[in-house]
């Protein structure tokens, strides 16, 4: 279905406003996903409420999400910034260190391409400037 551009623009603006308000509203209550209830901590450690949208959009995003979150959350992915070669080496490391099953060449290439495009090395490193906005 091809959308009418004017309709889409209006909808985009409305959705943006709604979303910005939701963003603001949801900030105060901290997420408690990481807080294991004493009764059943093992379950909490495995459960996740994440969806593929936790990762930025791009080709291979869904494949990346479902392969990676079979073991770990997306936070460790989002912390990284690496070249394609180093993302590719990360697969060797995960298979060696964490006994990850080999995903096969095609899926590996798709996911490494996505990770290299979405999480490249960061330009700025080191201490943040806490007074940047003054």
């Amino acid at each position: 279905m091809r959308l009418n551009f004017a309709t889409l623009s209006v909808a985009v603006i409305l959705a943006t406003i709604v979303v910005l308000q939701l963003e603001k509203a949801r900030r105060p209550p901290p997420r408690v996903a990481a807080a294991p209830a004493p009764a059943a901590p093992a379950q909490v450690a495995r459960a996740t409420d994440e969806t593929p949208e936790a990762l930025p959009a791009g080709i291979g995003r869904d494949e990346t999400f479902y392969l990676c979150t079979a073991c770990h959350g997306t936070a460790i992915i989002r912390q990284q910034g690496m070249s394609r070669q180093r993302w590719d080496e990360t697969f060797d490391w995960m298979m060696e260190r964490h006994r990850m099953p080999d995903p096969g060449a095609a899926d590996r290439a798709l996911i490494v391409d996505y990770l290299a495009a979405s999480f490249p090395p960061r330009q700025q490193r080191g201490r943040s400037n806490p007074f940047a906005n003054q």
Partner: protein, 435 residues
């Protein structure tokens, strides 16, 4: 919010069919559940969802994930920073580490796997000692307490990756600042006493540690981490099987009922939820002992370059490090402030700290801090100094520790290695003195 280079909106405008395929799943994984999934990602329901054009994506989802840190909310724990939640890994910001002895609630959390179920009867928790021993043992915690001499020590415990965020290019793993450290008062028994009870064979050279934490994939029988140490370190009188932390039974999240505490070496050697010590006749080859894990380079390599496994050596003693604990990074000081007392802790793996210096002029001049002796070997050391500011304005307070062997922290992290161990550059705290 920063605008992404090419957001989903542009993609929808230019090529709705492709955008739909991209967003709603090349394999149809999200079909039928897409709105619920979007709502879940936003953390709230989407009002007027029924009126949204097919495939429309809320703006927040088109942006890079927010950078604001998430704080831990867990009974018995302070609001420390969550680096990741599966596995659960939390860092204590340096300014929350001002206590002489780190309280349980402020102690950092590092897990490699899931969190095992709470032991119904902690006294009945069993630890096996086998391998190159004359008499394999299976000791319950209650038995450890009655059979072996009780020992209480203040010991620093530091993640091998502490300081990793200083590497350039970025090293793989949790991007720790300097807060993967704590120094608590631990009570337990010496590992050497337990090994003596089992009787070491002449072939014993290394330990292999095992815990009850399940592998993240859920694969039964798969260790999430299993590291070990040379026998000499296992036999050190400061290496303990710990049962209590700061006067309390060892908290579950910190490996209770029983864990190893191998002070001064990467925290991964201090197995949580300890179930077995396997005495080996060769270097242990468990999860995290091989490849690039917990290894640094023998000869320096090109940062970010191709890794030669033969050039990697196991990281043992952690390098010297100091932190400033009474001034928060980003603190605004009252107008007219010209002097500021600063203090913190310093430690140096197997060594002691010989000297701590502070600077407020980017290292052009240094002032020697007062340095206390450790409460016992492997406890961190308190340092204190007074900083002088010649004027108002922006300053960085730097702390530099030098170990008892004469090695100091460097200005920038060097010795690049793919997993980012040994990053021990100066701790830097920015302050602003108001006009």
């Amino acid at each position: 919010m920063a605008k992404p280079e090419r957001g989903l909106f542009e993609l929808y405008r230019d090529d709705p069919e492709r955008a739909d395929a991209l967003v709603f799943g090349r394999r149809g994984l999200l079909k039928g559940a897409s709105l619920a999934a979007m709502g879940a990602a936003l953390g709230a329901a989407i009002p007027f969802a029924a009126r949204m054009p097919s495939g429309l994506v809320p703006a927040a989802l088109a942006q890079a994930p927010a950078a604001a840190p998430k704080m831990l909310s867990m009974p018995g724990k302070a609001g420390i920073v969550i680096l990741q939640d599966r596995p659960l890994v939390c860092e204590t910001p340096e300014h929350m580490l001002d206590d002489e002895v780190t309280p349980n609630d402020r102690f950092f959390i590092r897990n490699n796997g899931g969190i095992p179920d709470v032991a119904a009867d902690p006294k009945a928790w069993k630890i096996k000692v086998d391998g190159e021993v004359n008499t394999p043992l299976e000791l319950a915690v209650g038995e450890l307490e009655t059979r072996f001499q009780a020992v209480t020590l203040k010991l620093q415990l530091e993640c091998g990756g502490n300081g990793r965020s200083g590497f350039q290019p970025e090293a793989r793993g949790n991007q720790w600042g300097n807060g993967a450290i704590g120094c608590a008062e631990y009570a337990g028994v010496r590992l050497k006493d337990v090994l003596a009870a089992a009787g070491l064979k002449p072939s014993a050279v290394y330990t292999g540690h095992f815990g009850a934490d399940p592998h993240l994939s859920g694969t039964p029988g798969q260790a999430s981490i299993s590291r070990g140490v040379r026998l000499a370190k296992a036999m050190d009188e400061h290496t303990l099987i710990v049962l209590r932390m700061n006067g309390q039974p060892l908290p579950h999240i910190h490996g209770g009922p029983a864990r190893l505490l191998v002070p001064g070496w990467p925290g991964s050697a201090s197995q949580k939820w300890l179930t077995r010590i396997w005495i080996r006749d060769k270097e242990h080859d468990g999860q995290g002992m091989t490849g690039t894990s917990y290894r640094v380079t023998k000869k320096p390599m090109i940062p970010g370059g191709k890794v030669d496994d033969a050039n990697m050596a196991i990281l043992e003693s952690m390098p010297v490090r100091s932190i400033i604990t009474n001034v928060t990074h980003g603190a605004e000081l009252p107008s007219g402030t010209r002097k500021l007392p600063v203090r913190g802790h310093a430690w140096a793996g197997d060594l002691a700290v010989g000297q701590v210096d502070v600077s407020a002029d980017y290292g052009a001049t240094w002032k020697k801090a007062e340095l206390k002796a450790p409460a016992n070997k492997y406890a961190w050391q308190r340092w204190s100094a007074e900083i002088e500011f010649p004027s108002e304005g922006y300053y960085e307070i730097w702390a530099k520790a030098t170990d008892s062997g004469g090695k100091a922290q460097p200005h920038v992290v060097g010795n690049w290695n793919p997993q980012g161990y040994g990053g021990n550059a100066f701790h830097r705290v920015a302050v602003l003195i108001k006009a």
